[in-house]
Each structure stands twice: as structure tokens, then as C-alpha cells.
């Protein structure tokens, strides 16, 4: 299955801490991915107060694209742009990514709200994507 996913972790100051394109890479739509996810943040801001759960499910869509969101207690937003709908798999993916992000926060050399440059983090996110999304 050649689905394309765009995953981004957005910090509290609305800047992306980490972003990756999972699956088929499409250079021409990188800006569109960012735009869609960035625009969906407005809906996350509203939706997070409507639910007590971290996982907000699909909060926005544009054409065939869906945006799912997960808000951590520290208001870091995990955003996934996807075509296919698989709520359970995406929820599990988000939960594991959240745990991964927590471990990054525990690193004393990582300054919160700064871009995550760790290659290990990147590899683990890709592994989680293979595990849950593909």
C-alpha cells in the first residue's frame, strides 16, 4: 500500500519541532502538507477544549487529506496528515510517538520547544510508522 503520511510535532510557539514524510516522498507538495497542518492548528486550538482525551481524532480535512491531532498535556501538538482512515492505528501511533517525545524531553541536552535533530528519534518514528500505519 503506497500511502503517504506527513507527520509533524508542533511546539507551543507554533513552530514545527519535528517533521517527516512517511511513505512515498513527494517533493512538490511539501509546502501544501505544511500549510494544511499549520491551518489545522486553529481547529486543534478549539477542539482540545471539547475533549479530555489527548487524541482528538480527525479534526480537519482538505480534499482527500485528513488531519488527525494529538495534544500532549504540555500543549505540544502531534499532527498527522493522511489519506486513509484508521483511527485505532493512528491513535496507537500517536501514543507511541508521545512516549518517544517524552523520552526526548528527559534528555538534559534537549532544550524544550527546539527542533529535534536526533537521528535516533527519526529512526524510531519511522519504525512506529511501519508498525502502525503501513
Amino acid at each position: 500500500m503506497s500511502s503517504t503520511y506527513y507527520f509533524a510535532i508542533v511546539g507551543t510557539n507554533d513552530s514545527p519541532l519535528y517533521e517527516t514524510e512517511l511513505g512515498v516522498q513527494r517533493d512538490e507538495s511539501k509546502y501544501l502538507n505544511q500549510f494544511i497542518v499549520h491551518a489545522a492548528l486553529d481547529l486543534v486550538d478549539d477542539a482540545q477544549f471539547m475533549s479530555t482525551a489527548c487524541y482528538l481524532k480527525t479534526i480537519d480535512r482538505y480534499n482527500d487529506w485528513n488531519v488527525s491531532a494529538y495534544v500532549t498535556p504540555s500543549n505540544t501538538r502531534l499532527m498527522l496528515l493522511h489519506e486513509t482512515k484508521a483511527d485505532d492505528a493512528i491513535r496507537l501511533f500517536f501514543t507511541d510517538c508521545h512516549e518517544l517525545y517524552l523520552k526526548t524531553l528527559l534528555n538534559p541536552f534537549y532544550e524544550p520547544n527546539t527542533p529535534i535533530q536526533s537521528q535516533a528519534f527519526d529512526i524510531k518514528v519511522n519504525m512506529l510508522a511501519k508498525k502502525y500505519l503501513f
Binding site: N13, D14, S15, K30, Y31, Q34, F35, H38, A39, D42
Partner: protein, 1406 residues
Amino acid sequence: MPRASLAQKKDFVTKAFCPRILALASPGVQDACAVNGFDTFADLLSPFGQDVLTQITIQDGQGAPYFLDKINVRFTTDFNIEKSPTQSSSDVDSLVNSCAAACVEHADPPFIGKDGVILDAAMADDISTWAPWYTLFRQQWVGDMQPSEHETFMHPVGCLLVASGSEADPIGALRALQTSAAVQRVLACGDGGTKMLFYYMLLHDGRDTAALQTIDLQFDQVRKTLGQNSALLKINTNTDLLGAADAGERIKISSIWSSDISATRPLAAQPEKSYGEMLTMRDVAALRDAVKLMLVRSVVPHMQYVVRVLSDQTASERRGITGRLFSAGRRYLNTTKAENTYVGADGEVYYRHKSPEAMLRKLADCSFMLKDYRFAQSVYQIARRDFQSEKAWLCYAGAQEMIGVCKLLWEVQTTKAEFDSVFEDAVSTYVHKTRTPRRHFLAVRCTVVYYELLKHHRFYMFAPGALLRGPSFSASLAALLNEQAAYSYLKAVPRPNVRKFAFYAMLASQAFQRAHMSDLANRCLHMVRVSLKSRPQEQIRADSDDEKSHGKATVGAKRPTRASMDEKAAAPSLPTTDEASVDKVSVTAKTKWTAIDSYINHELGRQSMAAHNFGEAFQYFMALMGDEKTPPKLQSKYLQELLQLFLESSDQLAGDYDGGKQASAIELSIPSIDPQLVRIIMSPELEGEDAMLEWRPDGSSPGKIGGGSGPQLPRCCSVGEVVAVLLVVTNPLAIGVTLSNLTLECAFEASGDAAATETTVDSALDISVVSTVILEGEQTTMVTVQIVPRRAGSVSILGAKYLLCDILPTFKSLVLPGRRMNDTKDQRMGVVHTPDTTLGFSVNSDLPRLEVTVDDLPDTLMSGSMHRACLRVANSGTLPCHSVAMWVSHPSFVGIRPPRLCNDEAELAEDTGMYVPLSDVRKHERVQVPNVLRDYSTFVLVGGQTDTPGSSAHCVEPLGSLGPGEAFTVPIWIRGDRVGAHTLSLCVGASSAATAPKDLVVMRSRRFEVDLLVTASLRVNAFVRPSARNPRERLLGVEVENMQPDLSVQLVQTTFTSGFYELVPVSSGNGREPHRALVGPRQSVSLVYRARPHATADRPCDSPEMFAVRALRQFIYSSEKPASTPEPIGLVYSNNVFAEQGIDCTHHSLQSYITRSQAHRRRNVLRSAYPLIPDKYHSAMFPLFESFGIDFVLFWSQVGGAERAGHHSISGIDLGVPHDYLVEGLNPPTEGAARTWLSDTMHDREALIQSIASRSESALRSERPLDVLIRVEAVQQSDCSLYVADVAISVYNHSWRYGYQFTLDLLSPHELDQFVAEGAKMEYSGSRAAWSWLDETSHSSSVEPHGLTVVRARLSCYAPGMIDVAVWRLQASAMLPAAVPTVFSSKSLDCVLYPTQPHFVHVGTV
């Protein structure tokens, strides 16, 4: 919201769906209209059909009364149902283009501020003003509605027939109009159940004065003939007064029609004519009254009549379940089904006019036009059901649309589900199910109407969904709808969705771009760029809270970071004609969403390029270059476009770029050259780090120049010296780039005499040019540019310049801010940095040019072994050098020889080895050596003549000066002093002073570092035992273990140095024992020496210990700090030579080395033992050597050759005799007033006293000041076969400070149990019954310091043999001098001693 304003806002919809009246005029009337500038009579009436106040109460479809406030009506001149608008995408594009062109102003909306979206303005402002072209489009689009079979809004509700009174037969004219083709077409669409309304109007033209008399008569005839639906209209009544009419009034009258045309047909060309030339205000009033009269008297009652009739005819359709069943039964069973519907030319299913469904639709439309929305909605819902079942999709979609409109116009609070779904269904059905050519028009109309109603109700959250559902068959239409969707997000409640706004504005810009409307596309992109700067309010609040909590100043009080430097570097310094109008900081998009930024900058750059705005385009394209995450394809594309842009703009900017001047070059972010990684290397062909360093007199490592004000140049070079500048060039892109003609831009400031004359950079500096640097993708390379200064002055590097890809002249700034200033109020309130001096150096014409090299530095050594390295200093300049010094980090590792000027022969003849061999080594030798403890890490090589006290500089026969062309070498012996890995630093400094300076202050220095690994060779341990032969003596054992697996070591010599003891080997008198001096691999050898006081030992009062006590007391209690230095000490050298030839330990080279090692060790010991005493007082308070410490040196050489030799040493061996003397210094002086201390100083002193006192009590081991030795002198045999022996008991006092009074109790062995029972710890293993003391067993006496007192006693035993006589108790107390206070004193002043080991004496036969 007040209902009045709501009513105003929904006017658009009510006006769009208002009743139409067919207005037909006779030729005479046409003439009257033409005189006033109107084409038709409908045009004349048109303004007066708007907002006609009816103020009447009418009945709805069910007979219930309601109040009709006002009504709109439109007059048409023709009715043709076949005419249908075909809206192709090109038509729509041209329409939108026309709308945009009609709006001259394309400025940003008022909510777009400089730093983001102004939310308050966005919330307060009206959305229609942000895009006036949409308002025009909306008006034009809905105004283009044409009659259709599926709805009756465009069907005239009545016919207005107008004849002129000037005509011969007005009645005939009216009848002729009544039978005209247009009227017939209207009648053909009627259902037949209701009559058509005809309204007759007789027009009297005032110009025709002849008809004035007969007009009333004619009107009576008309009324009699045609009925009551007749009216008389008189215009142009006062033609006589027209000439005198006010010009203002004329304009006012004309504007009534012109404003009506601009409102209803905004895009129609406004003819250059004035309307109503022959009309007066009275005529205007007459027209208005005539229209109102027609509406109130005829049109509205007629519509009511139609509603009532249709309601009756369709009652069964609308009446509950019965009607539905009846309707359904008729539909399925009746064979007349086909008669009700037909398929139109466009393939759609339509209803015939007499069918119940068509009548329902007409009923609903009429009710809607009479504003009875509730009833209309119910009828629409009934009709919809039938339309759906018949698959008449166009009718169905129209009904759905009107249901939604009715719900929203009804003004009852509705939920989204109630209206949004019907509109969605309507649009979807229009677009996807209908096949009529008008489906796009109808879908857009539905979208526009729905959007207007949502705006009216302020349901902005639903607006984007509604707009985006609209058909997007045209790019311009999609652009308009997306733009409106973006604005709707901005008006969303409870807070504006700025990010959504940005997204849809971006989509709108794309669509505008596709529609070739670049102005609006650019406008949208600008809005996106600005809105991306906006931050949510919560975040702004959170940030401000953070700033408050951290106490930060609100002014940007941050040191510029690397990123901000990049940002500044990315801002180009391109001089353009309109540069002043371009804000450099805000023109490019700069968020953390890099792909978004790249897209916006690229699009804006392309648009600026197309608009020939090259200055702005450059900024956008250069901002594109900095993003590393851009895919390689895009990077390549961006770079090509940038180069193309430069080539295209080169004609315009040719004058600015010629010659590649720095001011005209572009600051580009690629490739990146980090200013912090730029290195300036003086004399690049030499090794070592070169810098101007400060040499402090305390012997610490030469460090950076600190303190003082003004710029300090840490580097200095002489004229003509080569300076290499190392640049680390990184290509952040994934594609390769080429740099050519890379060189540096420098600033030069001449100094001295040259400052008076004008000096240019070109004449003062020779800067090399690197022809080509090829950088692959993401490659980092180092580029070296050489600078050769030709004149004295200061040089600072401003940046690097090069040609990028052989085309683009680029300048890269390398200037960094210096240290943040914090001295004055202004500096604290603002951000002030010192000028950076890291990328600069000074050129000093007085500085001698030295070449310093260090040869033969080892990397591995065995511990204790030696290696010879060589320092060579050559003066390659033209000035003599008068001061050269060297500093080493590990003085205990390094031994140096005096410097020697090198000419070829002398250099070869130099060097005799580390040790000075001596064949006749004396066993004991006493030598006076300096006893000053100080840092010996600095050596003066040139210029220092004397070893001045207080200075750390250590002179080893320095040279006077070093002339031009001369060189000298210094042999350096490096010894592996400690096992492990070490980094040795060696620093050689030269002063530029013409004469030798008194102090070493600032010197140009070259620092070398060498990593040295020291491996273990020998392990030497020392141990101490008491001597059984002499109480004065101690046995000192030395165990030497060879750690090497394959190396045999020959011991050459052992040397002990002590101020008090001499040591002689125990085993042999001559000490030459070759068999014992050979230590094989992994073997060990023990050497035992007897330590005894030397005959010529110093008196205690002159000892270094007393110096330390006095100095400590002075430090603590006196008002003056200790500044004296200890006297030289006479050291006793006890040599024991194993080999044929010994080593001269008193030679100054070895002696200076040993002194350095000792000083290094001693300082470390003191620093850890007395941390509260500052380092700077160590030399004034502590001597280098102590009297009673023993230093041991073991010289060895490798067996089988002299390639490897060395020595091991143990410093400060303690024999275990009492030396707890320092506590005496804590006692306050008996004389001399102590200074009154400040409280802090008092606390410091008390802490120091406590630390030393507690250390005395806890850290030091228990010491025995007295030693006892028992020796049998004579043995007698008594009568009773007892053996009686006379013994001499020697009591020796090891203390150098106090004499002792003691009482010696000799304990009888058989009473020992009783004694032990008292709790004393004495273990006795000998026979208790075999012997006993005789006579007096308690002896009292005294013993002087280092004195010996002998006590006589006797013992008796039963049989000869060895007896353990160690049964005694010695109670001693010190005899203190009267001057010694006793607050703090040694803990061994009063002591009770017992034997610690068995002591056997032999009692033999007589």
C-alpha cells in the same frame, strides 16, 4: 443585532428574488423617454421600484394577516424563457477580471498590519470592504438571472402598458401593446387558472401643451374602457422653468438613475449623458407615487389573489396524509402522469404549467415574493418531495435552495443541520445531477445567496464550507470563493482563525495566478506572509508572562544569536532604485515552517521579477537559498532562477556591479562561512599557537589579555610576516556550487608615522586570491587566504567576497558582535557590544620576528627515564630581541640547560647528558641550598640577568640579546615524572620592547602542546622501622620493583637529602654491591638504610620549622603580612654508589631540577593540606625543605647500554618522629598588639585556626616523642643460682622542640596481670615467672631535645637465656619554655608510653 440592520443586510436576497413587471410602452412614450435620456420606459421607472414602502396588511396563503412593510419590484421590457445564460469558464474569468478592474484600489485590507493581522480591526470591519470586486461580482452574477422553467421568480407578475396622451388613439395603442408578442409569451407561461394582471398607464408629456387640455378626458376614456387598473402619469410638466432650473438639482435628478444603474448593473458602461433632462423633482415624486400606487392598488392584491387561487387549487396536495396518499395514488395509478411533465431541450425534466407541481412552485414563489417565508417554505417542502420522486432534479435543487433561503430569512433561530444540509444538497444536485447548461450558474447563485445569508446571520464558521462546496470550473471563480472563505475564517467566533485564513488566502493566490490575475495573487500572498507572522493571543500572553517572570527587559536584550546573524546576512545590501521603500526585515517570509516560507518567497520573487521589481525579487530569492531542507530539485531551480534574475537585472544594475566592489556585492546565505570558526594563524609554516598573552609574575599559565578598556588586539605580527586566514566554507545545499576569485575584504588602519599619510588597504596588505573552490552538495572545506602586511597598523577582517557560479558577486560578512557591555546605564538599558577583535591583528614594526621550533618531543616515556628535546629560537627579522622567556606546565617533568647561541660547531658539541658523572662521590656532604618555595615554571632565556627574589622567573644563564639572524637552542630534558597520560604545555614568549623589561607582562607567545604517555618502569616504596640497636636511629627500607617484563635495570646510585639525618646502608660498609644493584624483569630489591642525626645538624631555633611557625603566627595575628623568605638550609647528601661511576647530585643542573620537582610537590601538598591559606603566601610561610623530611633519589640505567637512564624519587619521607609543630603558630603572640580585624577577616582567621587545629588532632598519626632501649651491661650469678643483670635503660628524645620530664616504671612480669586488669593495653608474651626487676623500679629524670638519658636498673632471672624485658611504663611531660603559650600545642606534650614490641636481652653465663 437590531432587526433594522438585519433587514438591511438581507436586502440583497430579497431584491434578487423580487417580483418582475413587464413594462411595455407605445412609440409615443418611447419618444418622451428618449428626450430624458432613457432607452425604455422600464429604465425610467427602475429606481422607483426599490424599497417601495407599502405599509399594508395582507393575508398569507392560509388567510392569516401579516404586515408588508415594503417591497421591491423590477421592471423588464421583455420576457423570453428560451434565453438562458451560458456561463463558460472564460466568461466567468472575464467577468471576474472586469470586477477586479472596476476596483482601482488593490491595497491590502485594513486588518493587515506590519507585524501581522490586526485582529480587532478584522473583527470590527465589514467583510465586504476587503474585496470590493467580490461585491461587484455578486451583484452582476445575481443580476444576470434569466427566466427558467423550474422557477417563476423571473416571470412577470403583471404587465404595465403605457401609452402617451399625445398619441391619437391611446386606447388603441394600449390594446396593441396588450397583444404584443412579449405579452403573449408571458401568457403562454401562465397556468391558466389565474388571470394576467394588466396595468394601464397614460403618460402625459408636459412638452405637448396642446394635449394638456384633453389628457384628463383621455384618461377617463381609458379608465372606462380598460378598467380601474389605470393611472395617469404627468411628467415634463414645467418645461418653461427648465432653463432656469438649478444645476445642482439637475445633477441630483440625474444621479437617481445613474446610482440605480451602478447598483443593479455595476459593470455596465456608464454612458456620458445626464438622465431626466426634462424632469423636475415634482416629476420624480410623481413617478414614485405612480409606482407605489400601482404596487399597492394592483400588483400586491393581484399577487395575493394568485396566492389564494393557487392555494385553493393545490389544497389537496398540501393537506396532510390524505392529500399525500391521494397524490401518490394519482401519481402511480393515473395515466396522466406523462401529461404533467416533459423533458426539455436540455434534458431536464420540467413540469407543465398546469400541473399541480408547477402550481405549487408558483404558489411558493409568489408567497416568497410577498415575504411570507414560512408558508413558502412549507410549500417548497411539499413540492420538493414530488420533484424528487419524479427525478426532476433541476426543480428539486431549486426547491431545496429556496427551502434553505426561507429558513434563514424566517429569522427563527435555526441550527446548522437545518439549513446547511439543504444548501449542500442543492449545490450538489445542481452540479452533479442536472444537465442543463445553467447548472453552474445556478450552483454559484445558490452559493452566493447562501453565503450572503450566512453573513447576514454572522454564521461565519459555516461560510468556508459553503463557499468551498461551490463549483470550481473557473480559476477566477475559485479564487474569489477561496478569498471569501479566508476572510470568513478571520471573522470566525470566538476567535479568528488566522492560520486557516493564511491557508485559504494561499489557495486563492494560486487560483488568481492560474486566472492570470497577478495583482490579486500578489495581494493574497502578501496577506499570507503577514498573517504567518501573527501569533495566537495566548502565546503572546504566555511569552509576556515569561519575560516578566525572568525579569527580562522588553527591549531586545538578547545577544545576537547565530540564527539572527544569518538572518541579517540573508538580508541583501542590494542598491536599487526603490530600495528605500522595501523593508528588509519584513519583506521575506520567515517562519519555522520552511517549506511554507520557501513557497511564499518563491512565488513573491517570481511575481516581483515579472513586475521588474528586481530589488525585491533579489531579497525573496536570496531568502530561498538558506533553507537546507529544500529538495535538491527545488534548490537547483531556485539557484538557476537567482542567477537568471541577476543576468536579467544586470542591465538595470550594471552601474552598481562593476568591479565587484564590496558595497555592491550581495550578501548571500550560501555557502555559509561561520565567523566563529575563522582562524588567524601567524607564521603558518611553524607549529604551535600564536597569540599575544599576558605573563603574570605568579608563574601561572600565560593567558589572554584581560582587563583594561578599549580594544585589545590579542594577535600581533611583524611587517612582512605571512598571516594565514583559515575559512571553513560549508555548502548547506544538496547541489554543488562553485566559488571563484575568493578573497578577503579587510580594513587597515595605519599607526605611527604612517597614520599621517593616507594609506590604502591595497598598498598596506597583500591578500591572496583563491581562484576556484568547488563545493559538492553539503560539503565542508577549508580555504586558506594569506595576508602579508607591508606597513605597521591594525588589520581587521570584514568579510569574504567571491563570485558564485562565476556570475553572482557575493560578499559574506564575517563581523561578529563583541562582548556585551554592562558598564553604564545606557549600556544596561540597551544592547551595546564592543567591537569584535577576534578577527583582527596588529602589525608592529618594532616586533622582532622569531621562529620558534621544538624538536624531538617524545610521545612515550618510561617513568623516570629521560628524553632530550630541543627548543630552537631564531630571529629572522631585522630587529634585535631583548627578552625571551619560556613557561612549562609541568615543571617536575622538565629540566633545561642554559641557552646557547648556535653556530654549527657549537650546536654539535653541546649536550653532555642529563647527569653529570662523578667518579669520586662523597658519602656524606653538606650543601647550603636556597630554601624558598615558589613556582619555578618560568625560565628567562634572553634578557634576564639576575634571579631577582620575589619573581617567578628562573634564570638559567640567559643570553643578553638575540640579534637579527641569530639563533639559539635550549636543550630540554623531559622526564616521565608520573605514570599516566599527560599533556605538556610549553609556551615561549618574546617582548617587543627595545630593552629587556623588568617584568614579564605582555609578550607575543607561541604555545606548544605535546601529549606524553608515561609507562611504569620501577616501583619504589619506602618503609620505616625502629632500630633495636640505637634509640636515635630508624631503619629506612627501600623496595625497588622492576615493572618491565623484559628490561633489566642497573641501580647506579641512591642519594638521600635531609636537613637533619644522614643515612648509611645497613648491609655493607662500602655500599658497592653490584649483585644487589641489578634488578631483573619483574624482580624486586630491598635496600635498607640506617637514618641517624647528622653531626652538624642545625639548631632548632634556626630551623625551617621555626620559620614556618613564626610566619604562620604573623599571618594570623600580625598587622603585616609575612613577606620574608627562609634562610638557606644545609642539606646533607647521603650518597650510596652502586656502579663504577656516581652522579654529582649537587651539580646545579640536577639540583635545579630537583628543586623544581620538590617545589611542585610541596605546593600541591600545602594546597591540599591548608586550603584556607592563599597560594600567594605559600612562599612566605613555608620553606621548600623541612629539616626532618628525607628525599630519596634512585638513579638507574638500562643494563646493556646507556641508552636509557633515569631516576626515581620519593620526597618528604617521614621517619615517624614528632613534627607536629605548626599548631604552635596558632598561639597568639605574647607581645605586640594584634590588629583589630574586620568581621570577615576575623571569620577567615578563626576558620583557618580551627582547620589547622583540628587537622593536628585528627589527621596526624600518633607519635612517640621518646624512645626506650634496654641493654644488659653485666651479669652476675648470686648464691641462690639467680642471675642478676645490670641493665642500662636509654631514653632518647626525638623532639627538636621540647625537653621532657619522665617517670619510668619498671613493671614486674608476675604483677603484669594485676596491671593489665587496670585497663592498660600491654601484650606480653614472655615468661612471667622466669625473671623480675630488682631494687628500685621507678625512675624519674629528664631528657633534652634530641638528648639521651640513661637510667640504671637491675633484673634477676632463674636461668640464662633470652628474656623479653619490654615491660615498662614511661610517663612523660614536656618541659615548655616559659615563652611558649599553650593554648594550642602538640598533642604529644604529655604522654604515657608502653612498649610496642618485644625487646629481648640475653642474660648469659658469667
